[in-house]
Assembly symmetry: C2
Homo-oligomer: 197 residues x 2
């Protein structure tokens, strides 16, 4: 049997673990937390569907879709770190670098390097593709919060400036979606799903 | 507020229902059935990772990835029809056409038409992109079965010719992956996960 085929098969089976990494965000129907695999799919679908709102020049949607697919892979070993968890975010970098080393070395070298580079580009939020990707990655859980009575905001007692800071990539890449987000925030503050003091 | 933004937001929220459509395939860790959203992500990741095994000329991987993302969307309303369920497959076409009508009309017309065309192209399995996509769509649950003691094969008492028929797109598009599948089948038959008579 072709050795490389077996190596690829093993990697594809390992990918299944993305269905067992649960996030803070709950489904719109409220039944449970969403998984990393589900979030990555939703993110990719939204990146495709909402692309017309992007104002950053030079974004290649095809690369953004690939970025969406791989952007959370290291969480297979590093776990999901909640955006508003300051303690957990302190050692996030080290944990994810170790996870990347372990996961991407399962692939033939050129391909492992390619996936890792896509993830690191996403994480740095510096290129046009990564800036648009960052906006949609944030917007997906934001939308779910907006229709689940601010689930994660309430659960973690989040303050308005924290949410605004988190929405910065949306303001930069997709102003029309940011404008809608502001109406959601007004409502969430009025209903006390988000704290102001 | 921009009317089109609201329309897009509604569609993106509707997409969340793909996380509540459960399939027959179970996760590699055996904990539960996978969802359509998870399957679509896994399919897209595998299409990207295994592309070098494709032998069909003229396949555009970027289009295949978009196909993978949208290929099961109609199941939001039509539900998942198990591949080996002959009864359920009888009215599958009508159910899915009605679902497509309902779902894609939520989008601005050009975009709705684009998504529907991608789905119909996938479903027809005639273009190079759709042929490669069909192979990977089948290979993902096949791999999960191969490491979960033939879960769905055993559960539904599936016969070898049914599995071989289902693997036809794999034989055509990705012979090296088909060769590996044959070793899996030998083992599954020896262990009586798949019936031969």
């Amino acid at each position: 049997m072709n050795e490389k085929v077996l190596q690829h098969i093993q990697f594809c089976i390992e990918l299944d673990k993305m269905k067992s990494v649960y996030r803070q965000t709950i489904l719109v129907d409220g039944s449970r937390e969403e998984t990393d695999a589900e979030h990555s799919w939703h993110f990719a679908m939204m990146a495709m569907t909402l692309f017309e709102y992007n104002v950053i020049p030079g974004v290649d949607l095809n690369r953004v879709l690939r970025m969406a697919l791989v952007h959370d892979l290291v969480e297979i070993y590093a776990g999901d770190t909640f955006a508003f968890d300051e303690e957990g975010n302190k050692d996030k970098y080290e944990r994810e670098q170790a996870a990347a080393e372990r996961l991407f070395s399962m692939l033939p070298q050129a391909q492992g390097t390619e996936y890792r580079a896509l993830w690191e580009e996403f994480d740095a939020e510096e290129t046009p593709d990564a800036k648009y990707a960052a906006a949609i990655d944030v917007y997906q859980p934001f939308l779910n919060n907006s229709v689940t009575k601010g689930h994660t905001w309430v659960k973690h007692g989040v303050f308005l400036p924290q949410v605004l800071k988190r929405l910065e990539p949306v303001r930069i890449a997709t102003p029309a979606l940011y404008e809608y987000a502001m109406t959601v925030l007004d409502d969430a503050v009025a209903k006390r799903y988000i704290k102001t003091k």
